[in-house]
Symmetry: C2
Subunit: 305 residues, 2 copies
Amino acid sequence: MELGLVGLGRMGANMARRLTRGGIAVVAFNRNAEVTQALAKETGLRAVDSLEALIAALAPPRVVWLMLPAGDVTEQHVDVLASQLAKGDVLVDGANSFYKDSMRRGTALAKRGVAFVDAGVSGGVWGLENGYALMLGGEVTAVARLKPAIGVLAPARDRGWLHCGPVGAGHFTKMIHNGIEYGMMQAYAEGFALMKARANFNLDLGAIAEMWRHGSVVRSWLLDLTAEFLAKDQELKEIAPFVADSGEGRWTALEAVEQGVPAPVMSLALMMRFASQGGDEYAGKLLAMMRKGFGGHGVKTDQES
Amino acid sequence: MELGLVGLGRMGANMARRLTRGGIAVVAFNRNAEVTQALAKETGLRAVDSLEALIAALAPPRVVWLMLPAGDVTEQHVDVLASQLAKGDVLVDGANSFYKDSMRRGTALAKRGVAFVDAGVSGGVWGLENGYALMLGGEVTAVARLKPAIGVLAPARDRGWLHCGPVGAGHFTKMIHNGIEYGMMQAYAEGFALMKARANFNLDLGAIAEMWRHGSVVRSWLLDLTAEFLAKDQELKEIAPFVADSGEGRWTALEAVEQGVPAPVMSLALMMRFASQGGDEYAGKLLAMMRKGFGGHGVKTDQES
């Protein structure tokens, strides 16, 4: 199987490595040509220096897989490729795109006879070694065309990937996956924070995380990772308590609102990230002022806190 | 090693099985003597019919392990045993007891020269097969006395158990473990509920859970269980949406309040269980009345809802 890969960032580059190791002929384009050349040397993939060259290098019917940042960059590339791909080609978006954007793109491409597949890809930097969990949305025939590549990217040919449903269903499933991830991470973080704070027990958080990995109800891959870094450092003095968020946590909260289905823990985990980013500061100042106003309670100035 | 076991419920009986298989000589007492007799036949443990007989059957210095419901039942047995055990004996509480109760019991027993070890035990009904994660609090010498039994109960001699710290530290760690479990479970439940509600994608929740088990960031033992039952039934029509809670979720929330350390997701997961138990109903009625009061909005009667 031959596959055109656009985007060789952290995810894309490792996927190129896994694909080429698995016998997939990869033609790759990346904004920075040096990255493409270096990866060509390392993996034997064929480097091209433009989207046009990528299209020209692939024999129709083509499969082009985008691994770009979700949002504008992906949108622009889908737009350009929409005019260059031909009937029968398949365009895959492996970014963490909003599923409604994917549905819109799928509809637009379908009008030109190009099949769109939205691929939610999980596995992070560990995917190269362990394989990527793949959540796919699209027509049966389009997903079938991807099977050789899916079999190589996934943890195994017969597991760790799923054709979830029509266009949009892949990114939707990945969005929910990430929403769950937010909630799980927050739960672990709160638990370890409570143990850290109970100083009289002088608990070894790294040893507890390691122990929980075996036979406990909370064992998980996220705990495996947590145990690994807590074994080295449980004070975390060098780390700022700032937790970034990406689109999927926000979209999960919006989905709950749109459906009228409660997802309080997922949403609160997101809100706690906003708080960690400083988004709670103005509210905190206001609350301090209210306490002063109705109770004469003292306030800290910004210098004291 | 010889060990006296009190309580042969779901947990205690399976622990007796695992202990006897592992070569530990178990002397057991259970309120219902038929249960003890049946288990004696099955496992070769020695059945006794009273706490007094248990004490008499064990050669000092004794190890007695309680696997009773936390609260009054455990309290009563600790009280009785406090007067019957002798200096040098070790009393283990394997219930999900509140860690402050364990600290109090440990102090009281220490005055009589009896060492107390609080053991948080995780693994549920799967512990017999996979082993039990054991979180232990107590003096080094007391925990050392338990090592042969711990090695048999745990998933392996060298892992899945930890001497966490002084008396109380075992049950404290188990309490936090369960608090994390509440948050994780709620996160998964919300995610699957959002997928179920997005009917246009007609997602196969069992297949998604199974796929996530391989290579995804949210893979965990709780997900393994979820995949197993969703594979059989994802409508859950026979199941009432009532989620019980036990002490440890509540104590984790109290711990957060006592420490002034936020644990919002754990606490909210607990509150959502209260809501599932109907605890949100009066507030819901009041809110409906407020909306009627200030906006003239209609209310549903209890018959309509």
